[in-house]
């Protein structure tokens, strides 16, 4: 049995970054994620779509073990990243999260300066040798998150003083500053105007060159624009997963079709 899995893995390893098998998530007695199997490819943007409360965030949080922080939450099944089980006893979730960055549904900047917000990750991971390097990392991250122009003159002002959309971009900058291999984004554009949304989508497109990006979104257009793969969740089940183009033009499942055309939700 074990041998079989090993061979399976080594075959997949070439382009599959994260692979989930048989994942179940429980909040106490609530069964929030049921039997989810999914392979997230490297250097690809994968979109999770589905009606509110279907478990998109929950599943996303499994991928960097953020669910560990919720006492009543229990995760079953196998999730591997580069073929290594992330729920293995030997895995330190802290190390995992440096590899798998996350942007949360609600903007949550630290109540510190804009600079410190972005510099925090690189600092604790020792990515910069000196101040000049750190400055450079901060600037690059803010530019990628399309916040540089607005923030460059007020780097020392509190991040919490920014507008909601700016805060969300600050959180994106903070996440990319640590150079993760996988970036999980939970509705990163829900508070952004169309221009900032466009900039973030550009960023996602750019990140795709090196990383794998998973994005949860409620906007069908956005999913269609940025993603190569789309997964549709419904009531805790992964209903359909495939090429974005195919999901949006020719879905196999009736529920997917109804959701996309606006009849569920």
């Amino acid at each position: 049995m074990d041998d079989l899995r090993l061979t399976e893995r080594s075959v997949d390893q070439t382009d599959i970054k994260i692979s989930a098998r048989n994942v179940q998530v429980f909040y106490g007695d609530t069964h929030a994620i049921k039997d989810v199997d999914v392979d997230i490819e490297d250097k690809t943007v994968t979109a999770f779509i589905g009606p509110s409360g279907c478990g998109k965030s929950t599943f996303l949080r499994c991928l960097n073990r953020m669910n560990d922080t919720i006492d009543i939450c229990r995760v079953e099944g196998d999730i591997t990243i580069d073929g290594e089980d992330i729920y293995d006893r030997r895995v330190d979730p802290v190390q995992l999260r440096a590899k798998v960055g996350m942007v949360f549904q609600k903007p949550n900047p630290f109540p510190k300066s804009i600079y410190d917000n972005v510099a925090y990750g690189p600092k604790i991971h020792g990515l910069a040798k000196n101040k000049a390097e750190l400055d450079e990392i901060v600037e690059r991250a803010l530019r990628r998150a399309a916040l540089w122009n607005e923030a460059k003159d007020r780097l020392q002002t509190p991040g919490t003083g920014l507008s909601g959309g700016q805060q969300q971009r600050l959180c994106i900058a903070r996440a990319v500053a640590t150079e993760p291999e996988v970036l999980l984004m939970d509705e990163p554009c829900s508070a952004l105007d169309p221009i900032a949304t466009g900039q973030v989508e550009e960023l996602i497109d750019e990140l795709k060159q090196d990383y794998s990006v998973v994005i949860v979104t409620h906007s069908m257009q956005q999913a269609a624009r940025v993603s190569q793969k789309t997964a549709f969740f419904h009531l805790g089940n992964l209903v359909e997963y495939g090429e974005t183009g195919k999901i949006f033009t020719n879905p196999e499942d009736k529920r997917t079709e109804s959701y996309i055309s606006g009849r569920i939700g």
């Binding site: 006492d71 802290v94 440096a98 960055g101 949360f104 903070r174």
Partner: protein
């Protein structure tokens, strides 16, 4: 979604009748009346509270302020080296000094034309009985004052009855039953006051001095007890802050949520409600009887008060840790910070104002606590010596401010009663200062974000 486009049922018309919004209907009027009533109750409650507060404060000020002034008999002493040497050679040294003061008083009275047929002994009752010793100490410390022909102006404490007369506490009628002073003395006091020899002024010794025995209330001060309180507070601060904060951080951020931690949590809340005298007897049993630390020592008092303060600090620290939004922890963990980094870099600084406020409230509570000190012998002990050095500050028997106040309030002489009120003013002054420090610290930490 499709439902939304269905036509609305016609039920609307039968429901509420449309009426003018310019006139109030019965329901609105009732609601407004209820609101107005509630506001009135609130205002009455606040006024009542304010009334009692003002009453309390005015009583404290009225009764306590006289303790800060004292009646002095100012004499110009001419001290000769021979006189002092003779006094030092006598058997009862202080009595020689007492004679010196009395002689000087009589001389001054004659100079001012005040006549009396009292013997020097009886006349001497005007002065505090501790003054001979004070003079001796002063002279030995200032040998230069004994140069021939030079005079030194020295204030001597008047006896507490004389002081009470100046403050309106003692009258000629009340002296009828008093063996310490006679109404004739008061006539003299009136004349001496006119001559500028007897005078009431600010008495620093009340704040800096030590307690005195029952017979000399005019000499008693709160200074030594203040030092006792100070050393106790040092112990409380340096033990309860680190222990309390570490315990709360562990319980709140790291400990698994299970039966054991629930049990601990319930017990900490219960401890906060345990009467302080229970901590006193615990301290007696553990620190004095079992460990063998000295009785009446500020160190023991501090340990007992630490036990008492810990639950307060833990509860307030946990509350302020809880108040930090969980999204901050997620944010830190999300960029790959460890639990410890997330707590120390982000959560703790945000909780700091709350922690400091809780700590200072706990300290203030400890500062004003009397009951546990009763059991470890810090009440009833007459603290008459300044501790010499830090070690003896912690280990030598001492009292504490509230214990001293209690002690004074217990004594029969009304002069001590006045000092109890005065002590309360000083204690409240300390508490006020601590609260101001808490507010300043809170502001400072909040401004950083």
């Amino acid at each position: 979604m499709t439902d939304a486009t269905a036509p609305l049922p016609a039920a609307r018309a039968t429901g509420r009748k449309s009426s003018s919004i310019l006139e109030l209907d019965a329901r609105t009027r009732r609601r407004n009346a209820a609101e107005a009533r509630f506001k009135t109750y609130g205002i009455i409650a606040i006024c009542l509270g304010l009334f009692f507060l003002v009453w309390l404060l005015s009583a404290i000020v009225r009764n306590g302020v006289p303790a800060f002034t004292q009646t002095f008999v100012t004499l110009e002493m001419e001290l000769s080296a021979e006189e002092v040497a003779a006094a030092e050679a006598s058997v009862v040294k202080t009595s020689a000094y007492r004679d010196m003061i009395r002689a000087e008083l009589i001389e001054q009275m004659e100079l001012n034309g005040i006549e009396t047929d009292m013997t020097p002994e009886v006349l001497g009752q005007l002065l505090s009985s501790g003054e001979a010793n004070q003079l001796r100490t002063w002279v030995l410390e200032n040998p230069s004052s004994m140069t021939e022909g030079a005079t030194v102006t020295l204030p001597f404490l008047a006896a507490s009855r004389v002081d009470g007369y100046a403050k309106g506490r003692v009258t000629r009628e009340s002296l009828a039953r008093d063996s310490n002073l006679s109404p004739a003395h008061l006539d003299l006091v009136d004349q001496l006051e006119e001559a500028g020899i007897v005078e009431r002024r600010f008495n620093l010794a009340f704040i800096t001095g030590s307690d005195a025995s029952d017979a000399r209330p005019e000499q008693a001060g709160i200074g030594v007890a203040m030092l006792g309180s100070f050393f106790m507070m040092l112990v409380v601060l340096f033990l309860s802050l680190p222990i309390g904060v570490a315990a709360s951080i562990y319980l709140e951020e790291f400990a698994p949520k299970n039966r054991i931690t629930d049990f601990i949590e319930v017990n900490i809340s219960n401890l906060a409600a345990v009467p302080s005298i229970v901590f006193g007897i615990l301290g007696l049993a553990i620190f004095i009887q079992f460990i063998g630390l000295p009785q009446s020592a500020p160190l023991v008092g501090g340990l007992v008060l630490t036990l008492m303060t810990l639950p307060t600090i833990i509860i307030s620290t946990r509350a302020s840790l809880k108040a930090v939004p969980p999204s901050i922890r997620d944010a830190a963990l999300g960029v790959g910070a460890s639990k410890m980094q997330s707590v120390f870099h982000h959560v703790l600084p945000l909780a700091m104002p709350g922690i400091l406020t809780g700590t200072i409230i706990g300290l203030a509570q400890a500062l004003g606590e009397t009951a546990p000190l009763l059991l470890i012998g810090m009440v009833g002990f007459i603290a008459s010596n300044y501790p010499d050095g830090v070690a003896s500050g912690f280990l030598d028997p001492n009292s504490a401010m509230p214990a001293q106040i209690y002690e004074w309030a217990k004594r029969a002489d009304p002069a001590f009663y006045e000092r109890a009120w005065g002590g309360i003013i000083i204690l409240l002054g300390f508490l006020l200062t601590m609260n101001i420090i808490a507010i300043i610290l809170r502001r400072r930490f909040e401004r950083r974000w």
